[in-house]
Symmetry: C2
């Protein structure tokens, strides 16, 4: 174990490292050349544009204003200046609530630290067991401050017990307040949100197949029958995976074309040429612009026919649909109720935001879902406990002999002594490093295989898998030496009361390890986060070699989202460490506080300037954060119980039993009190918003507003769908002409339909068919509107004249 000096050295190194990172960041961020790495969010938000100013070429890359170099912490006030409500408008509620986790950490741990340092440290220091045992036991100065210093059987443990109660109550109190705050923020956010498509839309899965009916017809009929007063329309989901491939291909070609055209514009004297074969080295010489134009037009033909196929083939329509209602109330009702007698059919749920939908998973049937979730949970268990087995296997393969066998031509290099020893030290570690590096990706793939349909839920599922991995392999793995597999074995073969003892005894001894961990992973890691070494390097590399057009540059600077899947679990680990050590080794707490404060600043800066918001889930992840902190509390109780058990504190230990029970009860209470606010949409709220909207915009045509909101994004991508194609499609539908007058009629009476619902059965049948075809024609005329749909409420993006367009063409 480390002494205070060792720890001091480690702290010095890490603080120095963090400082170096910060200074580097201060220098790099003010260089214009790095602008797109450090402020991509501002570019995306349109608050900063590409600089086409009059400065010299050199000054466009390097900042020569020396004053700006002095204030290396100048980003801090900038990060703090934005108020929370501005932050919500700027980066969404998810980001704002994510930052609240850090402040929650501060709110919980600052008072606990003060109390622990004032009460427990003096108690521990004056306990003085270890001082008497100096010769026998190796111990560190840190241990003098920890519970290890109190002699077994001492009555001082009552003070620790009392503090455990106080800390738990304080944590629960702060958790309660924060849960209620976040729930309020969420409701307020949803209430003040502008009109957006997901408020009116419900996702329906597992639509049964009715023979002689298309899926769309089935859906239409079902909802007209069961939600006659509020049903508005539906958006079928197409299996567009092949089409998406073509779109991607076209995009690449278009990019090359842009590149060559730009080149040609700059040097109009010389048309760019090249070879068509592999990597431009072989094949015949062609004019690049003509070549790519030809290939694009060829591809577009294929795309058109593919799109036709997707839209016309009934098999391409998946048994999933986005059903829209004429009011939030109708959507809320449909999302929260069971529709069909068969509970595995017509599964309704809130539609995620259009940009939050994970399209690939929409078509998974119910039974398959249930099998997938089972298999993945088995796989996660295996991954958590047995991940060392494949790595050991890979390590055994990836030794030098193996390498020589696979690549004999490397032998002369490998046999050089320096290289050999380096590789021997490096190779085995590489497999583990690589595994840990790709772990979040692997977990995300597993979550996708589970079949969740929104990006937000995928991230939440990834976060919870990653949490289990960290809990077992970082927390328990560090406390009880040995792999997770060995732990599992000993857990199975030891009495249940022995396990908390094993952990409890080891906990105070590992305090210095975790302090170092916090400094390396927490402090220096966060400083690395703000410096963005990896994106910086990658951006400049891309800029040098790959970027050809402005579109490429935008792609290269894409910062991605904040990555809840990785960040939530590591944050939760800090809560776990803090709560476990609060009573045992309070001196660890200041390290945690510094982490929370520093990380808060850094992430606030990053959220404002860097990360892009991919979706808005309105803080749906909070219940998970809450229950993980509760779990940390319970783990801390169990370890304390084990520790006191070994300390012969026979009087005080039994009193601890009520603490986990009360905590569990608190959790259950909070769950029933707040969780519905995150899972359901209260009708009161829905009705209020509906009424307000009806009062303010009585003539709103919701149908056109919602028309294409949930179209697969692939169909939005190109606006240049030519007219010929449209006509081509419509000729197939010529027999539908006779329904057109119904359509216009329906438009006018959609808001007064409710009272006469029971007398119109036949009329509705005929109109719904028309609606269905009308929606198909919309598909063909769509634009890329997602962003608009979510943010604005003034423009109705899909022009309503399309219906009449349709009329005139026939």
């Amino acid at each position: 174990m480390a002494t205070l000096q060792d720890l001091g050295v480690s702290a010095f190194i890490n603080i120095l490292g963090a400082l170096v990172f910060l200074i580097l960041f201060a220098v790099l961020r003010i260089q214009p050349i790095n602008d797109r790495v450090y402020f991509p969010k501002l570019y995306l938000a349109g608050k900063r544009a590409a600089a086409h100013d009059s400065r010299s070429a050199f000054r466009r890359f390097v900042n020569l204003n020396l004053c700006t170099y002095v204030r290396f912490l100048s980003w801090v006030p900038g990060a703090l200046r934005m108020t929370e409500s501005e932050l919500i408008t700027h980066a969404g509620l998810d980001s704002a609530v994510y930052l609240r986790i850090y402040t929650l950490g501060l709110k919980i741990f600052v008072p606990i630290t003060v109390a622990a340092l004032l009460v427990l440290v003096p108690v521990n220091v004056s306990g003085g067991t270890l001082l008497n045992l100096r010769k026998e036991v190796v111990f560190s100065d840190i241990d003098k401050l920890s519970i290890s210093n109190v002699s077994p059987g001492s009555n001082r443990f009552f003070i620790h017990l009392l503090m455990a109660y106080v800390f738990t109550f304080w944590t629960c109190f702060m958790l309660y307040k924060e849960y209620s705050n976040v729930a309020f923020m969420r409701l307020h956010f949803l209430a003040s949100q502008k009109r957006c498509a997901d408020q009116f839309t419900v996702i329906v899965r597992n639509i049964p197949h009715v023979s002689s009916h298309s899926t769309s017809e089935t859906v239409d009929e079902f909802f007209r029958r069961n939600h006659p007063d509020h049903y508005l329309g539906q958006q079928a989901v197409y299996n567009a995976n092949r089409y998406a491939k073509l779109v991607k291909q076209r995009e690449r070609l278009q990019n090359w074309l842009d590149y060559y055209q730009l080149k040609y514009e700059r040097h109009p004297d010389k048309r760019p040429t090249g070879r068509t074969g592999c990597l431009g080295f072989c094949g015949r010489e062609v004019d690049q612009i003509d070549y790519y134009r030809a290939r694009i037009s060829e591809l577009e033909k294929r795309m058109a026919s593919e799109r036709q196929k997707v839209l016309n083939d009934p098999k391409a329509v998946m048994p999933v649909s986005f059903v829209t209602f004429d009011s939030r109330w109708g959507a809320a009702v449909c999302a929260q109720t069971q529709q069909s007698k068969n509970p595995t059919q017509w599964l309704t749920d809130w539609a995620p935001e259009p940009r939050d939908v994970y399209w690939q998973n929409l078509a998974i049937p119910f039974f398959s879902l249930s099998v997938r979730r089972f298999l993945i949970s088995v796989a996660v268990f295996a991954l958590v406990f047995f991940y060392m087995i494949p790595i050991t296997f890979v390590q055994s393969l990836a030794n030098l002999e193996g390498l020589e066998k696979v690549a004999p031509f490397l032998r002369p290099v490998i046999e050089v002594k320096v290289v050999k020893s380096f590789l021997q030290g490096f190779l085995p570690g590489l497999a583990l490093k690589l595994f840990l590096y790709i772990l979040p990706t692997v977990l995300m793939i597993m979550s996708k295989a589970e079949g969740y349909v929104s990006l937000s839920s995928l991230e939440r599922r990834t976060a919870s898998k990653y949490y289990y991995f960290m809990l077992v392999n970082v927390f328990l793995g560090s406390i009880i030496a040995g792999t997770a597999f060995e732990q599992l074995h000993s857990f199975l073969h030891e009495p249940p009361t022995q396990i908390p003892r094993t952990i409890g005894v080891a906990i105070p001894m590992k305090a210095t390890f975790f302090m170092t961990y916090i400094m390396v992973d927490g402090w220096a890691g966060i400083a690395n986060e703000i410096l963005r070494v990896k994106p910086l390097v990658i951006y400049h590399l891309k800029n040098m070699f790959i970027v050809k057009t402005e579109r490429d540059r935008e792609k290269a600077m894409d910062p991605g989202s904040i990555g809840l899947g990785e960040n939530l679990p590591s944050l939760q680990l800090y809560f776990l460490l803090g709560l476990c050590y609060a009573v045992v080794t309070p001196i660890l707490l200041p390290f945690i506080i510094i982490f929370f404060a520093f990380a808060f600043l850094v992430y606030r800066h990053q959220i404002i300037n860097v990360y892009n918001q991919e979706y808005e889930s309105a803080a749906t992840f909070w219940p998970q954060v809450h229950s993980r902190i509760i779990a940390s509390l319970l783990i801390s109780h169990v370890t304390l119980f084990g520790l006191l058990g070994t300390k012969e504190a026979a009087y005080s230990t039994p009193l601890l039993i009520f603490l986990p029970m009360l905590t569990l009860w608190f959790h259950k209470y909070c769950k029933s009190r707040f969780e519905p606010a995150f899972r359901k949409y209260p009708l009161e709220e829905a009705m209020e918003k509906d009424n307000m909207e009806r009062a303010s915009e009585p003539n709103l045509n919701l149908k056109t507003y919602l028309a294409n909101a949930y179209l697969h994004p692939i169909f939005h991508l190109f606006e240049e769908v030519d007219k010929e194609e449209k006509i081509e499609v419509r000729i197939d539908k010529a027999q539908q002409q006779q329904h057109q007058h119904h359509q216009q009629q329906q438009h006018s009476d959609s808001h007064v339909r409710s009272s006469s619902q029971y007398h119109e059965e036949t009329h509705l049948r005929s109109t719904h068919e028309t609606t269905y075809y009308r929606e198909e024609s919309h598909v063909r005329s769509s634009q890329y509107q997602e962003g608009i749909h979510v943010r604005s409420d003034t423009d109705s993006p899909s022009p309503p004249h399309f219906v009449y367009h349709y009329d005139t063409e026939h």
Copy 2:
């Protein structure tokens, strides 16, 4: 351990006992005097009436027709003759589905028994370990047929493993089929059910208090705003506990009055007199008829003023309401959605049937509920594991010395030697017997304290508590000798892998014990059930001493309901025994089969002839039955795992690990597949029934139909509420006169209201107040209508002219 001979003797005794019971039953049931004990259900259903025939007095009590004595099993065909659909009409779906548990038992265990006897018994017998060890180990002949007979490390265990898989798959298959059957039956039952109040009603709890508004006004306003198209009205819930007391008192006095009037009618020459003091021995002499008339009229005045108080005092209105809708669709929507932004307010759920409501629990607030459930779960845990502690304590008090101290006058009796030894043997056991006797009652009280609002859910909760008790104290307690507390201690201090081993090793040794248990509790117990010794004795005792009037006799013969709270857990125990022993000691299975077959016959007879149906929950208990059988499967896997572990079957044991995983997955799948059918009401179904009803009865006035369905039963009890009182109440409301025209108007337009909902806000405000007072006036004129409400749909029980009545009186 018992040999086969011992077991044979035990079987002979128990079969003889069962036969004696059956013969006694055959004799007693055909005596007219016992008619009301053995056929109360038929009396209640009106299929049998009190015999006032011409037979002699003696023949009215004793059956002299000798032929009927011969056929002592003649009740069996009678029990089987009724088809399932007739049974459902006769005794409700609950009873019919309850009987299906027995047939499920037969369906599961008959094939398993055949397979086990054909495959496993030969394998075990030829295994022959125990034959070699004859001299060392004491073992029974039964063990030759069990897995104990297979030598350790044998490959024969693969056969056991295979059979474990086969049995599990077969059980799961039958469970799946049965779950789907029951779910279908439930949906079919609900679909074919006649119109009844609970289909249109939602129970709303935790109504917030709004100052300057009464609860009824708050409810009215809230639902008019949030369910404008479907809200019909509401029934406030009054805190009528004091009034109920008075009603009970009045009923007793009325009974005495009836008795004396009857006496007077028979002997018109002599008016009955008596003394008013204690038990009629002291006090002044009075004319009994006049005396009771006077007391009743006095009591009625107090009742009237109390009723006034309840109905007028806003504090007597509890924050709970039964809200009715104009369609099943509206009620289904309201029951399944979240209403308010605060998830702890406006909690909606399906209203239980009026007769299923447990009125006392309606007013418990949300926070208190959460505390209660926590405390009760702690109490149940304590009861299951530590129930021996208070009993030991009582036993230590209830020794002879203690008794002598408390009651010194008993000393001479106690000191007699015979009495003393009898008491010494008897007293300690008495406490335990008494405890086990009152246990279901205690558990029911605990369930009531948890705050569930329907009798059906109370019974389900009691059943699950009782199951835990049986599992720990009967199953585990018999296998591992020692109290539950000792078990708990050893479970905590042994490695988790040791526990299945301990149980696994003990399981085959306890086979003979459980066979005897099945014979005593199962066979003889069921025979006792059909004989109904206790109700028989109690009925005749009551008839001799207490019964004065026909009303008393009806009360005395009340058979109660079938008692799911006690019967489900013991049934589930038989499933557990059967599944655990299927692989281990297959010879136990025939005992289980006989139990299921016999119990099926007996309970079919009892349900047809004896038990009364207190409520109809439409088989809501089935998910519980299903998951308990799944739990039994899991327990059987764990014990088999432990057993094989001690048998050194290293190759076969690991293959067992997939069985519990697959079973768990199956459970999850079934849960998501079928459970919603038991918890929710699909909108498709609701809409279908609504439409059918609208088509068949377009002019139905639902409002009057539903008016008093959910009035506290206490207010239904007396029809003779006099007119004066009504007027008295109305004078208070004179200021409401001006609203009357609104009321009539509302009656006429309640079905066309939906379209113009947004323009009527002020109009609605005024009408709703009238409605509220109208409902109060209904209260005063109510009749005992529950039975009618549930069964019939033709008469509208509460005459609609009440409103106009009200008009004319002012």
